[in-house]
Symmetry: D2
């Protein structure tokens, strides 16, 4: 009964097996492997972006930090949600990669409000040399609170950035979960909505450790390659990153896995709602924040359920305590059933 | 007939299979996996260093850059060979991780000369605030030219650094190859010889992509952890790094693989010498620089042999041209035999 | 009628003349001049801090950035007001000098709220390696909105920082203006209230361009010196910084000038209040934010008064528009009288 | 008898008086002062470069570091002499401002050898992502050993850089001393010889503390302004920088002062040569390295002469010991006469 994160489960067997299949003979190192050629072609096809620059790295923080550093200058600030992963959970990695840039937290919530963004980006005519200069917008899709921007919402935000002369980055650590929930195409959720660069997550959705970074305009491709090497993120035995991504994309596995984890969350959320849980916001993908009575939490914890609590389970039985639940692709339905039975008492 | 690098071969099957074995159920992320506990214990045992801080990263450049940044200050310079990997082949990654520190190339050769080092580190009484301040020493073992420092040589160099109040780092991307050639213990080649931190390579010697960083004094352990996260090198699904390293260390696989690649190089070198090749320096591990007649190179290239040439193969038949040869663990003996037959003409 | 800033007026004649007096013969460069010895001794005396490390730089941003960089680590965040000069007006200089650290804006106002600070610094037991780590507190005294922290307020905030193991920096670009308003001693406003390092401003209060940085604990003195040189802020002809600061401190000139500019602001504020102006907050030092009718602004602008407006003067005559007024030491009383007469219409 | 440096003498009275003249009334801060308009126009005229971007900073290290950072990328290396000020005497400031770039020491001497430069810049077709990428060339004029590049030599070096697609920076901390020695025009010594950016020194040649940075192509002007602010080198009371530079340029004072210090050095060198001194290289500007008998040094030191010695004066009377001598503009002829008399014994 593990609901703590989607980075603690195993890789999908197809992906693990792909590593074994890749493990034969010599292969050109440092991204010159032929599998990378296929990955690049496939991602361009999936995104309907035949010119896109496509790279692989092993961690989501690397994908975000390198993408933002390539889009931004050190005297700029990146606009993001105050609960964005880049703002709260990367130990100043984006600032480090940007060469000491700044992240500006827009508004209060997990989804960036267009009016707040427009106000924060300001009137560039008034930006003096004393201020941090306006830089890129970074949107987190799925948000850290489990919500999803519609394509229209992304387009509205990216248009505000574009009016300030700035590009838009999409942190898609859970790209697939958002995509299947929206039932749109990758192009619709990205470049057609004004997104310039994407961190396309694999690790949380069934890979061992691989993320793609995609720039729809390849003008900065060489700069990204140099930044990746300088950041020590260029793998010598790159074929093992390529193999993962190739298997991830094959036969729509990436979409299947996301549908699976989203469905698990719906099953969990429906069950919890029936038990009276209140949700911070309606779960749309594979994570949710729900308030349950402390007594219920104590039963679940005693039975070995693993998830994050926003406080102590000690306290009056019926007082609510919020928790975060994440379902990964590998979570068995029976575990949810068992979890709900224990919760029901 | 692939002699271009030891990062283009496959992982040893035991290591690949370890990834599959690790691929089941949930595991604590970010280095809190139980396999990492075992890896830490095993490396402490191997190094006879029960207090050592032990970490895993996926690339050699990350290991070196993070280790040096943890030992150095941004206003210092790291002393190294002018052909060191950190100086020539990491696209300013050490400088980046050090926060804009400097690397000072000592002398001319691949092995650092003690007198040149003593002169370069200078009389710290004379170092003013205007100069880059003396920082750590970094020794590359095996050197980029294929030579090996004896334990006594390492001790002599580290003593010079220690007299200047500076620690010593050992870039052991080919740690095992040096160790088996010296026939000494890991402790003898490191902390007993005055080494403070080691980049302990796995990738070039049969892993998929894993390097350990070991600090014999754990005082800076927390700082390293923060630097690793900030550098985006902390893996969420860390178990797959642990699994590789665990399999690498099991049953002395790491030593067997190094013996194998060193032996392949001896076979190749003996064969080439018999054909009249001249060596830049006597090969001691698994790489060598040898001069062969251009005609011989042309025959080899035509037959599909892959290795780096230091110039064009065009030219008078008998004129010599230097080439670099590297043997990895997976290189079949028959390939060497075939290579030598073609070379012989 | 210049009320735009206290950095646009001239230096006090005593300070300018000190430059001339210093301009004779040879003097040791780079801070080894004998005048610096006297400055150091005098500041230690004024602050009742015989061990303090004392340095001079030429700009306030240099003083703040170098002080914070010396106190903080790159993976930390500095806690400050969201309208602090370091947050809004230094174009990422603090982040740059910190080696890509972060500034965390606490709460909403110009004065940091203790409860908000305690919440922001958090429970360090919960800080994981993923988060920016807690770093120093930086207090701006006088605030950017013209208010002053009492010594007790400073002590309360610094105690919160100390509980989190963090030092406190005081940005005293207008140190003297606060001090004379509080009528306390420099020691009371700083180290006795838990402040560890001070940017002690001279430029805004009658100097040509000089600020002192004072560390009450000299442990990091050498590090500061290296950071200053590395930041290109170590003057070769340092005597001209020393001469300014010496003249500034002589015969309590610094206090006289601050009393003068504060008094000018009181005169201006009293006059504006009599004309119906509303103040954002009661002016306590030499700057104020006041709302006046647009008609009044138009008259003043037409007459050549210079100050910052928070919007356009176009609009209905009686609608209020906020403006910022700053009085520097050199502002003649007659200019205020004339300004008020014009304002009165 | 002060020959230690040209940064320990006073400012020329005209320049000090200009500070006093500037010290009246209000002036626009942060470089918007009208005096800066005049300085910009005058420097454009002097350099015959009507489009040039012109800025002022207070230290030579700031001028060099900001200029190089504006021309280079963090993954590049700047090519310079191994005894260049930027390489040896700026405590990693250029690396810091470049965002962790590298300086590559070309050859052995103070003057860069064209063949060594061409070899170091390499064949860009062979530069892989692993290497530091080629960056700007930086030439020090006058060199740290007192020699001067001819305009043709500068042109030859800058052409090599240009062939590699790289710009050329000239560190002209002693620009005027070189110019009057060459008897050429500023344009001939810079942009006509392929120089893209100049650090135009004032401090060593009679100013209080001011250096101009000049970009002949203004494309990066805005970036420089942001870098200057971010580096904390933008003066609020900028008029005092402008006033210095304006007085420095007025009536060819800058050239007169350089002629004076060069002439002093010739007088000193002629006298020392007559006493048997041997020069490291023929002095061309205002600094020289000369070997004198230890006995002579002991007499001079006993009499209070100040200059840098390359070792201890203890030793056999007639054994030579090298010393560095610098003449600044303010050095009285009588001091040189007295020095030579003492030296003669």
């Amino acid at each position: 009964m593990y609901f703590a994160s989607d980075n603690a489960g195993p890789a999908h067997p197809s992906i693990a097996e792909a590593l074994i299949r890749a493990n034969t003979g010599y292969a050109m190192p440092y991204g010159a492997d032929v599998a990378m050629e296929r990955v690049r072609a496939r991602l361009r096809e999936i995104f309907e972006a035949p010119e896109a620059a496509v790279y692989l790295v092993a961690t989501g923080t690397a994908a975000n930090s390198l993408a933002l550093a390539t889009l931004a200058q050190p005297w700029q600030q990146v606009f993001c949600s105050p609960v964005a992963h880049i703002y709260e959970d990367e130990c100043n990695a984006p600032e480090f990669y940007m060469g000491a840039g700044k992240l500006f937290p827009v508004g209060e919530g997990d989804k960036i409000d267009p009016a707040a963004l427009a106000a924060a980006m300001g009137d560039s005519a008034e930006i003096s040399v004393h201020n941090a200069q306006p830089g890129p917008l970074s949107i987190t899709q799925v948000t850290e609170k489990g919500r999803i921007y519609t394509c229209a919402e992304i387009a509205e935000l990216s248009a505000i950035a574009a009016r300030a002369g700035q590009p838009t980055h999409l942190d898609g650590a859970r790209f697939a979960n958002a995509l299947v929930a929206l039932n749109c195409s990758p192009a619709e959720m990205t470049w057609r909505a004004g997104v310039d660069a994407v961190s396309f997550g694999g690790t949380k959705n069934g890979c061992v450790g691989v993320e793609a970074v995609i720039f729809f305009d390849p003008a900065k491709a060489r700069e990204f390659e140099l930044r990746r090497k300088r950041g020590a993120h260029l793998f010598s035995k790159h074929r093992y990153l390529s193999a993962q991504m190739e298997a991830y994309l094959a036969d729509d596995l990436w979409l299947d896995l996301a549908r699976r984890s989203n469905a698990r969350m719906r099953m969990l959320a429906d069950g919890l709602r029936a038990l009276g849980a209140r949700f911070l916001q309606e779960p749309q993908a594979n994570l949710a924040f729900a308030s349950l009575p402390r007594l219920m939490h104590r039963r679940l914890q005693a039975a070995g359920a693993v998830y994050y609590l926003d406080g102590s389970v000690e306290g009056p039985d019926e007082t609510p305590l919020q928790a975060r639940f994440v379902c990964d692709w590998s979570l068995p339905e029976e575990e949810i059933t068992r979890f709900l039975e224990i919760a029901a008492g």
